[in-house]
Amino acid sequence: MRESEKTGLAIEASGLVKAFGGNRAVDGLDLRVPAGTVYGVLGPNGAGKTTAVKMLATLLRPDGGEARIFGRDVIREPDAVRGLVSLTGQYASVDEDMTGWENLVLLGRLLGHRKPAARDRAAQLLEAFGLTDAGARQVKTYSGGMRRRLDIAASILNTPDVLFLDEPTTGLDPRSRNQVWDIVRIVVAHGTTVLLTTQYLDEADRLAGRIAVIDHGRLIAEGTPGQLKASVGAGSVHVRLRDPSQRSEAELLLAKELNAPVLLDADPSALTARVPGDGADHVAAEQASRALAELAAAGIAVSDFSLGQPSLDEVFLALTDRPAEKTAA
């Protein structure tokens, strides 16, 4: 039986530590990734996401703690783990000097396929990833999106049990990003567990069943996208007033209605209020529209407003700099 057909935990890490010199890139990280799901690891640059993935994929030896992939220890049984996982690194993990076809045949051979099987598999993958025409060209001539697709094609050559995608959409245009998202959904639907690191809450929200937020190498929050958003507030409502002199009045009203702090923007006629909500977008929308109705009833004219999802900035602000609010929420 394939490991991926088993239930339970695909990845189990506790107290992972990796230090480079004095800098503890990963500092006691715990992760529990259920099998057959997309798990998002969200964090800013330098949070330790790549280092954590490298340890789980046996590329780096942890300085402390332990990790298992489907029960196999990454330190004691690295070869068994390598047989289960596959990694698409942050920078293309394909050979730029070789053609797309050659890259896939090379990898097929290294994974133990005989020559004809490796060639068939390469052709099949190029076809499935829309790269047949580009297959004979050197990878360095590919666009960012094509390169990323080839990279993922190489990673699923043997249908791994766990696929690590390290920032798979960073630097891609919106269309290529959508293609990658579609591919990830199809891959996970076929039983592969996907661990995806990202800087974008939006991406984790769309793809992941659960999200871990990490900062300075530590887990600072974990849960479903809904739980996470609830802990931060469902988003922000940005309001611009026709008459800037009414701003303090509007501030009081919004604070009362939304029961959340209101920020005064640099623009003297604009203010931003966090919408607490419970993580569900429609609740946030209702609360925001009620607040706007209050403003109208009080005779405060609004020239423009928008309701935004919480950005990663807001998540981090809420989770790190303002821990008191997190507890209150």
Binding site: S93, L107, A134, T159, Q179, I186
Partner: protein
């Protein structure tokens, strides 16, 4: 080209059926043997030569230059005639050129190792040294090519080895085999040092004394005692003596044993150090 790129990405929409077909978990083949994995990496080295043929410059133009330069520079002074000197110096120049070319192994490893593709290789369940062995297999082709180029130039200039084709082939085989072993020094430095320039610098520092302070150009009898002592332990000098004896049709078993033993030691020591660095990278 950008038009093609744009067109391809416009057309592509991930199709669940097509992707599903490639994702259907078939039986995974057994992992490749050490030999098969190494040969596959060797194939990668060949493909690199195919895509960037300019890199063969150092195994073609450089050896021709070395042969012509040293034959005509020293021939008259040392042996009285260039043809006579050629009989003595050609095997030496061949060894010198090939041993010098080995340093490009370190440069190639150093410039390659930082690339993302290495992360992929290192997450594969394969025999770990095969990546490095693959480089060296590709390099052995380069060494053979360089030897052949020098031999051809030599034959044109009047080199007539008494050992005949068998002796010449045996000599080249020994040279290429030793160079394979010797290259592990450079894979180690390629992994250890931070830039290509420093790899080049260290290579020169090691290679110049090893190749020039030897019996390549003159027999060591006229050298001062301390230099004779160095030549006596210099593996390149032993290699030159062994290759010379094979090509002359009078195989010197002592020298050949010396070369094979030092080659084995180089692989054991520097192979281990290379793999230690590779696993920690």
């Amino acid at each position: 080209m950008s038009a093609i790129t744009a067109e391809t990405s416009t057309v592509y929409v991930p199709a669940p059926e097509a992707l599903g077909a490639v994702l259907a978990p078939g039986a995974r083949p057994p992992r490749p043997s050490a030999l098969s994995a190494s040969m596959t990496f060797g194939w990668r080295a060949m493909l690199k030569i195919k895509h960037v043929p300019e890199q063969l410059f150092d195994v073609t133009a450089f050896p021709i230059m070395m042969t012509l330069m040293f034959t005509y520079l020293f021939g008259g002074a040392i042996a009285g005639s260039t043809t006579e000197y050629l009989q003595f110096v050609l095997p030496g120049i061949m060894v010198m050129s090939v041993v010098m070319i080995t340093m490009y192994t370190g440069v190639a490893v150093n410039s390659d190792i930082e690339k993302g593709v290495f992360d992929r290789f290192r997450t594969l369940p394969i025999w770990r040294p095969s990546t490095m062995v693959g480089y060296l297999l590709g390099d052995m082709l380069r060494y053979t090519l360089a030897s052949t180029v020098i031999l051809t130039v030599g034959l044109i200039l009047g080199f007539r080895p008494a050992g005949g084709p068998a002796g010449v082939i045996a000599g080249i085989a020994l040279l290429v085999g030793f160079s394979f072993a010797f290259s592990w020094i450079w894979t180690m430095f390629g992994l250890m040092l931070r830039s290509e320039k420093s790899v080049m610098g260290v290579s020169m520092l090691v290679l110049f004394p090893l190749t020039f302070l030897s019996n390549v150009f003159v027999s060591p009898e006229t050298m001062p005692g301390f230099l004779q002592a160095f030549v006596g332990v210099n593996p390149v000098a032993h290699l030159v003596a062994a290759v010379r004896s094979l090509m002359a049709g009078t195989p010197d078993n002592g020298e050949i044993t010396w070369v094979l033993t030092s080659g084995a030691l180089l692989i054991v020591i520097f192979g281990a150090l290379t793999m230690r660095l590779y696993n920690r990278k």
